[in-house]
């Protein structure tokens, strides 16, 4: 796969971090910029509400990644229901698919945005699969 540029890391990202509401924009890290710079792909979670079919569809995608050598992380947002990750819905969907729950990093909207950007960057940089798992899958 030498001509392929994929980063092998995927982040679950809440609606509110992808499309921040006006009132939060100044106090949040620019999550998409950080994810882009960190080489992560994004799976967008829907806004609060019952999105049962969409959540099942998202869980199917996470399962496919998690079982084939991709690192999957979750970025939550404090103050959002379920941290914006629909965690109460998502966690059982993933367990049902024999997927270990992804590590979660929670962004704090009431903290310093620059500091939160650094924390998010450090989390993303520090997370990946163990090297033997990477060697097994990432040819």
């Amino acid at each position: 796969m030498s001509s392929d540029s994929r980063g092998w890391r995927v982040a679950l990202v809440p609606e509110a971090l992808i499309n921040p509401p006006e009132r939060l924009r100044a106090s949040l890290p620019d999550a998409l910029n950080v994810l882009e710079a960190s080489g992560y792909g994004v799976l967008q979670l829907p806004p609060p509400g019952p999105h049962d079919l969409l959540m099942a569809v998202i869980a199917d995608q996470v399962e496919e990644y998690a079982h084939h050598g991709y690192a999957v992380a979750a970025i939550g947002l404090r103050g959002e229901p379920g941290s914006g990750l629909h965690w109460r819905r998502l966690a059982p969907l993933l367990r049902h698919r024999s997927v270990s729950l992804p590590p979660r990093h929670i962004v704090r909207p009431d903290a310093d945005a620059a500091g939160e950007t650094q924390r998010l960057t450090a989390f993303l940089a520090g997370y990946d699969l163990p090297s033997e798992e990477q060697r097994r899958w990432r040819l």
Partner: protein, 200 residues
């Protein structure tokens, strides 16, 4: 959901936010396709990511394929399920008065908007890198089923174009100009052909 002033929403192919969804050897970026995301965000578009139909159906280790290979009843049913999953969000934006545009992936058998890939006689053992296919005008299977689901809900056709990543020879600067022309020029809701299509 918050619905204040009329908003602009871009319904975008899954792989424009996540190149890990691409078929093997098809990823041109690590994660986000930044030229597309920048072009949309700088114009005030909210992003709404489509699911990737191929990833969940044929897996991350799938071979590449053409339109005719995915044109099966079961794949279409799978695409309809995904369309039903995402359509409520599209509908709520439209009903709230938002302008919604669709950005697919031209040349893709599933997500092509202006162009898809075709080779009616493909089948059997893959023969890379010698396999070749044609780029032909038309929607991919997923976009066909998505648009059909939106129409079933009585929603208007979305202005649509495709990022020309799967057209054979990828020209990022040309693709970006093409996308920006579309974003800056489509002021007729329902127009769907885009402008400046380039064959490669």
């Amino acid at each position: 959901m918050e619905h204040n002033a009329p908003r602009k929403v871009a319904l975008i192919a899954n792989c424009l936010l996540n190149q890990n969804a691409k078929v093997c050897e098809g990823a041109n970026y690590r994660g986000l396709v930044s030229p597309v995301i920048e072009a949309l965000r700088s114009r005030g578009y909210l992003l709404l990511q489509l699911p990737c139909p191929e990833l969940a159906f044929a897996g991350v280790r799938r071979w590449w394929a053409v339109y005719e290979q995915y044109d099966t009843p079961v794949y279409r049913a799978h695409c309809r399920r995904l369309a039903q999953a995402i359509a409520p969000l599209v509908e709520s934006h439209l009903r709230a008065g938002a302008e919604v545009v669709l950005i697919g992936l031209d040349g893709s058998p599933s997500t092509g908007v202006r162009f898809t890939s075709s080779k009616p006689d493909w089948g059997g053992r893959p023969n890379r890198p010698l396999d070749d296919w044609d780029i032909v005008p038309g929607r991919g299977i997923w976009i066909e089923e998505l648009e059909a689901e939106l129409a079933r809900r009585g929603l208007p056709a979305l202005p649509a174009t495709g990022w020309a990543l799967d057209m054979g020879r990828f020209d990022e600067a040309g693709a970006r100009r093409d996308l920006e022309q579309f974003l800056d020029g489509h002021d007729s809701p329902g127009g769907s052909s885009g402008t400046g299509a380039e064959r490669s």
